[in-house]
């Protein structure tokens, strides 16, 4: 690759990642609006998260005098960690800014949770501690689940490099994808884990305001003003990243193998938009039909995700010719 090509792909990677970061509140706005409409409510509109963020960013932060720099720096850590993730996945063009493997992605997600849990304990209040406890409990379940998905990919493709796995999926195409039961199982597993990671129903209720039912939000409750804006934005970026990963990895359509060809990109932008709307719609429908689980019962979906991956792995092992 010559220098121009590297620069071009860098610029494209930067552009699509930045756009995704900026679009993240819109995705959440869309989700809320769809949910409201399905509940026969009006909804605040797709742009409401932008207005909220803008309002919060102009307000002073409130940090209790029990807190230290851990609490103060966590919003930035979350924002940077989730932003880095966005730059790792191909969105509408195969070029990415950071070429890493899925282990890096898992550990960056873990870093964010670690930082947030420390911040929860740093507040010195029971809600912070309660949130930290639950957050790390989910971390335990999701980390094993995510690594099992990665093991499934490794067993299937002999690589866990993000770029190479995406290429393998594009080469396979959407039609052939659905003939591989192990990949479908991995899709289901990852979908469950996305619910875990983005703290949606049935794991956690993102719109609750009752502290005792909160897991993740119990820590966010301690933030205010521009701190809260940054944290909320980071959460939105995380949801967008997870949906993008799910949509692009397991709905490998259209194939982006012809690198940089303009027509493919023209075709892939509406395709990506369609996939996101579809996933958001599915998520909204799923959340309407589900109650939030009791805290201890959250183990069940976690182990379900692990089992789905395990079945996929064992299926792959026993159908491989030696």
């Amino acid at each position: 690759m010559n220098l121009t090509a590297i620069l071009l792909s860098g610029v494209i990677g930067l552009a699509q990642g930045t756009l995704l970061i900026l679009a993240a509140p819109g995705v959440v706005g869309l989700l809320r609006t769809i949910k409201a409409q399905l509940q026969l409510r009006q909804g605040a509109g797709v742009l409401q998260p932008y207005r909220d963020l803008f309002k919060l960013l102009r307000k002073p932060a409130v940090r209790s005098n029990a807190t230290s720099w851990i609490f103060a720096s966590t919003p930035s850590v979350l924002f940077v960690a989730y932003s880095l993730l966005v730059f790792m996945v191909p969105v509408v063009h195969p070029a990415t800014l950071i070429s890493g493997d899925f282990v890096l992605a898992i550990y960056v997600l873990g870093l964010a949770r670690f930082s947030l849990s420390l911040a929860g304990l740093d507040t010195g209040t029971p809600f912070g501690g309660l949130g930290s406890s639950r957050e790390m409990f989910f971390h335990f379940l999701t980390e094993i689940g995510l690594v099992l998905v990665v093991v499934g990919l490794m067993i299937h493709w002999n690589t866990i490099d993000v770029q190479q796995v995406f290429e393998a999926h594009w080469r396979l195409g959407l039609g052939a994808f659905f003939t591989r039961p192990e990949l479908l199982l991995l899709t289901l597993s990852l979908a469950l884990l996305v619910l875990f990671e983005s703290e949606r129903i049935p794991i956690d209720n993102p719109s609750t305001h009752l502290e005792l039912t909160m897991a993740h939000k119990a820590i966010l409750l301690e933030y205010a003003g521009r701190d809260l804006a940054l944290v909320e934005w980071a959460e939105m970026i995380k949801l967008t990243f997870l949906l993008t990963l799910l949509g692009n990895l397991f709905l490998p359509f259209p194939s982006l193998l012809a690198t940089g060809a303009i027509p493919v990109v023209l075709w892939s932008v509406p395709a990506y938009g369609g996939k996101m709307v579809l996933l958001v719609l599915l998520l909204a429908l799923w959340e309407l039909g589900q109650p939030k689980l009791r805290l201890r019962e959250v183990v069940a979906p976690g182990f379900t995700a692990m089992l789905l991956s395990l079945v996929a792995i064992i299926y792959t092992i026993y159908t491989t010719e030696g």
Binding site: R63, D122, H139, E143
Partner: protein
């Protein structure tokens, strides 16, 4: 002594210094004087400092010596330091040293840690609870550091075991510290008093059991090799009959596993180590305990012909160790115990990677031998990288614990700490760096070796699947799940440890702190400097993995002799070619740096807004009065959910169970609801101890009852057995 002094006159010729026996003599002299001086002038302040100074000089000399043959790696070199000449009829006993890449790495690490601990101790041993005993501590520390270094360069069975024993005795002496302190000052409670009293006994029993097993294993190898030199054992390795090799493997795994603390033998570590002086933890638990891992690599790869099933056994034991110990680390309620358990978790991770290497060191059907060797090399590099990393971040955490112990006058219980980040900002910040590193998060070093370990397991999966070894593949997947569970729990564990001790509000009120004479300021500069150094190393090892991995590749290529293409020296992460796929570790990517700068911009432009100041109210407690010790989450509450998903043999304390080792773990020492779990493996150890005692009693009553007629029968039986044996061995004369 004479020849040491005459040799000292040759030292003007610097090249002589690198000859192993000269270097050993110099180092022995330095550490030896360091052992003796503090013991002779036991009441003088200067002598303990002189002892530390000698330890520092001795370790720097050892580090220089090791660097001399390690950077770049030179050919192995053996030399005889001492040889007995007093009995012509016996095979000569000798003390032989060998300098090769693997021992070089260990000497470098041990010496570097001894130097760091020595500098740190100049300040740390001034604390009131060490002042009375510092001479003994310094003396034993010198002996311990010297014996540890000599263990890893020993090249014959005799000196290896002798040095191991010296290590044991020196450390046993350090473990006496807590008991001696309590004799002087009185113990805070009965439980602590018991622990301090039995810790040296437990340590000696455990170490001698381990040495006994190792002695049998090595002698079983030495008999067919007809030599005590480890070089001859290496030569004879390929001709060993498989049954003998398997027996030796099991004995060595038992002996070294006990010493390294592999489950179920981990029970001693968390009991013994907290009784030794905290400043020495960085050396003893940070690196000296890994001498057992070093001997595992030596035994399994060099003295024995590796077999695949050994690898699976070691892997399963190791991941089980990791999971069990991180579990008990979470359940512990003080800093020292939690970290001691957690060290064993990391030994488990290191041993797991060695297990993967062992699987591929042996020929397996369907796997090309050269790619198997590459995978073995990858796994060994992962294991050594984790070994270094663990030494660094756990060393850092122990130094910080020592500082906390120094600053708070021995308060290390989570229920009394909290809020240290605002009381002692430097120590606590270093502790947080260590926590993030040990939890394996980028950009710190833990991530690199956890990534390498995961990658070597994944590459192993690819290779085994390719060879259609299905059950084996599933074993690896099973181990991988346990390993990842241990990684995830580590993150939890350090949220708890750091959160309980450093964050939030201090659980001990200002009046009590004054009363107990907690330090007003942060730790003195030698301690701060050493913690800063280690924190910097955590970052450097995490950001420049290619350089470290290159050296490790050349070490592994030299010593067990497996080769993998060295990664290109790059500041942008680590790239390795394996037979399954090429793997790239992305850290410190220029684009990541650019993004981090974007963050800085964001903070500058939008975030730090001086016209809208941050408000700092009191913590909100729903309108009720806020108390730091009553309102904040406790460790037991924090781990409540995680504890809920594990099986429950840990829960119930049986009052009738024997209690040789304290098996009750107090989760929270609340006034109203003391929460107790049982350390399952300690209870098993208690039952085992009971069995041993009962059989000893039986022997006393029936076999050795003082009746002279019975003894005469013994003599008769012994004579007959000896005659029969003689006839069988010599052959019946015609």
């Amino acid at each position: 002594m004479d020849h040491i002094l005459t040799d000292l006159t040759d030292l003007t010729n610097l090249t002589n210094l690198l000859a192993p026996h000269r270097a050993v003599q110099v180092i022995t002299l330095l550490f030896g004087v360091g052992v003796v001086v503090p013991l002779i002038w036991r009441t003088r302040g200067w002598s303990s400092r002189a002892g530390l100074g000698l330890a520092l000089v001795g370790s720097l000399a050892s580090a220089g010596w090791a660097a001399g043959w390690l950077l770049p790696v030179r050919l192995p070199h053996t030399a005889v330091v001492w040889r007995s000449s007093w009995l012509e009829a016996l095979p000569p006993l000798q003390w032989e040293v060998r300098t090769d890449a693997l021992s070089g790495l260990f000497v470098l690490l041990i010496a570097a840690f001894a130097a760091v601990v020595a500098i740190y101790s100049f300040a740390a041993l001034e604390a009131p609870h060490y002042r009375q005993q510092r001479h003994r501590i310094v003396s034993a520390f010198n002996l311990f550091a010297w014996a540890t270094i000599m263990t890893v360069v020993a090249n014959d069975v005799f000196s290896l075991l002798a040095m191991l024993e010296l290590m044991t005795l020196a450390f046993g002496y350090l473990v006496l510290y807590k008991h001696a302190l309590y004799l002087d000052e009185g113990a805070p409670d009965a439980e602590k008093e018991t622990n301090a009293r039995i810790a040296p006994q437990v340590y000696l029993i455990v170490s001698h059991t381990s040495t006994a097993l190792l002695l049998v294993a090595l002698l079983l190898l030495a008999i067919p090799a007809r030599s005590l030199s480890l070089d001859m054992l290496r030569v004879g390795a390929s001709q060993l009959p498989p049954i003998l090799a398997n027996v030796v493997f099991l004995l060595a795994l038992g002996g070294l596993g006990i010493r390294a603390g592999l489950t179920p033998a981990h029970v001693w570590v968390s009991l013994v180590h907290p009784s030794s002086p905290t400043p020495t933890h960085a050396l003893s638990l940070g690196i000296a305990i890994k001498v057992a891992v070093y001997l595992m690599i030596r035994c399994f790869f060099e003295f024995l012909p590796p077999q695949a099933w050994w690898g699976y056994v070691l892997l399963l034991v190791a991941v089980y160790t990791a999971l069990v110990n991180v579990w008990y680390a979470i359940a512990s309620h003080d800093l020292k115990t939690a970290l001691a358990y957690h060290s064993i978790e990391n030994i488990g991770i290191i041993a797991a990677a060695i297990g993967v290497a062992l699987i591929f060191a042996a020929p397996q059907p369907g796997i090309d031998p050269s790619s198997a060797q590459t995978i073995a090399a990858l796994a060994l590099v992962a294991s050594l990288y984790h070994l270094i990393n663990h030494a660094v971040f756990k060393g850092l955490l122990y130094l910080c614990t020592g500082a906390i112990d120094y600053l708070t006058r021995q308060v290390v219980d989570f229920e009394r700490l909290g809020g240290l980040l605002r009381l002692y900002p430097w120590t606590s910040a270093a502790f947080l760096v260590g926590s993030a590193a040990i939890a394996g998060f980028p950009p710190f070093n833990g991530y690199v070796s956890e990534w390498l370990t995961l990658q070597s397991a994944l590459v192993a999966l690819g290779a085994l699947k390719g060879a259609a070894l299905r059950i084996e593949t599933i074993i690896i997947i099973f181990s991988l799940i346990l390993l990842v569970a241990a990684f995830a729990l580590t993150a939890f564990c350090f949220v708890k440890i750091a959160g309980m001790s450093l964050l939030g509000s201090p659980r001990t009120s200002a009046e009590t702190r004054n009363q107990e004479q907690w330090n007003q300021h942060d730790a003195p500069w030698p301690m701060r400097a050493m913690m800063g150094l280690m924190a910097g190393l955590c970052l450097a090892l995490g950001l420049l993995p290619a350089f470290v991995a290159r050296s490790l590749v050349s070490i592994v290529a030299d010593t067990p002799g497996y080769t993998i293409a060295p990664p290109p020296p790059s500041i942008f992460g680590l790239h390795l070619e394996t037979p399954i796929s090429s793997i790239t570790l992305v850290v410190a990517h220029p684009l990541m740096t650019a993004l981090a700068l974007t963050l800085a911009l964001l903070v500058l432009v939008g975030y730090v807004n001086r016209y809208r100041p941050t408000l700092r109210p009191d913590p909100w407690n729903c309108g009720t009065p806020y108390t730091a010790d009553g309102t904040q989450y406790t460790g037991a509450a924090l781990s409540f959910l995680i504890r809920g998903i594990s099986a429950d043999p840990f829960r119930r304390a049986d009052p009738a169970a024997p209690e040789h080792l304290p098996a009750r773990m107090v989760l929270a020492r609340s006034k109203d609801y003391p929460q107790v779990v049982v350390e399952y493996f300690r209870r098993l150890a208690n039952y085992a101890t009971d069995g041993v005692l009962r059989s000893a009693r039986w022997i006393g009553m029936w076999a050795q009852n003082g009746d002279i007629r019975q003894y005469l029968w013994y003599i008769l039986i012994a004579n007959i057995v000896a005659l029969v044996l003689f006839l069988v061995l010599r052959g019946v004369p015609a």
